[in-house]
């Protein structure tokens, strides 16, 4: 029994490491921008993912995704999603078509009970535009430093793997954001906004939108730290129940 347990613990250790290696070593370096990223699984392995895609036209795709369910099954679908994104984005540059293609493949294997929510932001560094394709994922938070405003961006879009394609394609609308100097954009999973403290209170969108106001002028890494600290302070003695993923894009 003891030996069996030890073997399982060791195997989970391997799985955790393998999954960690699937995350990018470091965010891409883009002149005029900074990116920081973190993914902390709540269990040995998780269903969250972040990734960066270098598209054929040199634009950069920023991805955060969350597979429904938890543990090993979610981790396997997360691996599949990462592979599909990498493969599709080798030839495709249009965010709508990238997600439509990934959806088509996921639908075939997901058996409808598993689905993936995903946000894809395609950044054109030269024009400072960000095209957002939201597949059922949490809103993207956009901090406009100069205008002193914070918005939750939620363009229409279905989760991946739920529909064969027609409805998915029809529903998905790309939202375009014109970034300015000093702006910050937060891509994250619901592990942040649904983090629950001992009073069964959720961290929520509002807290996230408030805390990002206090990060103007900070680096992407500094912004990430401020936000994570705030989430963990809110949690207090409670452990996170879900994977926590956050990607911060900061315009210099």
């Amino acid at each position: 029994m003891q030996a069996e347990r030890e073997r399982l613990v060791a195997e989970f250790g391997v799985a955790r490491l393998a999954q960690r290696r699937m995350l990018p070593d470091s965010p891409p370096r883009i002149p005029g921008y900074e990116i920081a990223a973190v993914c902390r699984p709540a269990r040995e392995v998780g269903g969250d993912l972040y990734d960066f895609l270098r598209l054929p036209d040199e634009r950069i795709g920023i991805v955060v995704a969350d597979v429904s369910g938890k543990g090993v099954p979610a981790a396997l679908y997360m691996t599949l999603t990462k592979g599909l994104l990498a493969s599709v984005s080798e030839t495709e540059t249009d965010p709508h078509r990238i997600l439509a293609e990934v959806n088509r493949h996921l639908y075939e294997v997901c058996r409808r009970k598993v689905f993936v929510t995903l946000i894809l932001g395609v950044l054109d560094p030269a024009t400072k535009t960000l095209h957002l394709a939201r597949a059922g994922h949490n809103p993207t938070v956009w901090r406009q430093a100069r205008a002193d405003d914070v918005k939750g961006l939620r363009a229409p879009g279905l989760g991946l793997g739920l529909d064969k394609g027609t409805l998915f394609d029809r529903t998905l609308k790309i939202e375009t954001v014109n970034l300015e100097a000093g702006d910050a954009v937060l891509f994250y999973s619901d592990g942040i906004t649904e983090a629950m403290n001992s009073e069964r209170e959720e961290y929520g969108d509002e807290r996230l939108m408030q805390i990002v106001r206090q990060t103007d002028g900070m680096s992407a890494a500094g912004t990430e730290e401020v936000i994570l600290t705030d989430v963990y302070e809110f949690l207090g003695d409670e452990s996170p129940q879900d994977d926590i993923t956050l990607v911060v894009l900061r315009v210099a």
């Binding site: 409808r112 598993v114 689905f115 929510t117 939620r154 279905l158």
Partner: protein, 125 residues
Amino acid sequence: MPNPFAINTQTQDDITTIAIEGYLDAHTAPQFERAIEDEIGAGRLRIVVDCRSLTYISSAGLGVFMSFIEEVREQGGDIKVAALQPKVESVFEVLGFAEIFDISTDAGAAVARFGDAGTAQHGEN
């Protein structure tokens, strides 16, 4: 500690109302799944899910809704959703479920919408 969950199925004329209450998560989703399967198995394809007392839904719960909708619609029926609480409603909306499901403010309105569809066999006893 299991979260509270209850399910209550009632059929009137040819429309079945499945009322779910409490937490619909990975632990309770199989009960909900069985309740829908039973209806489909019995050929009752006009289903209203009354969510008035549903306080929480996880991805496993959402998966149950998705796993039957296509099959039921292909056979000429529908699964309509009624009376979502704000928290559950926002989960439905973020995921895009509002685009897929016919959602009404209460169960009565959802039942009435089966009539609106203008199907021939309108149940009149």
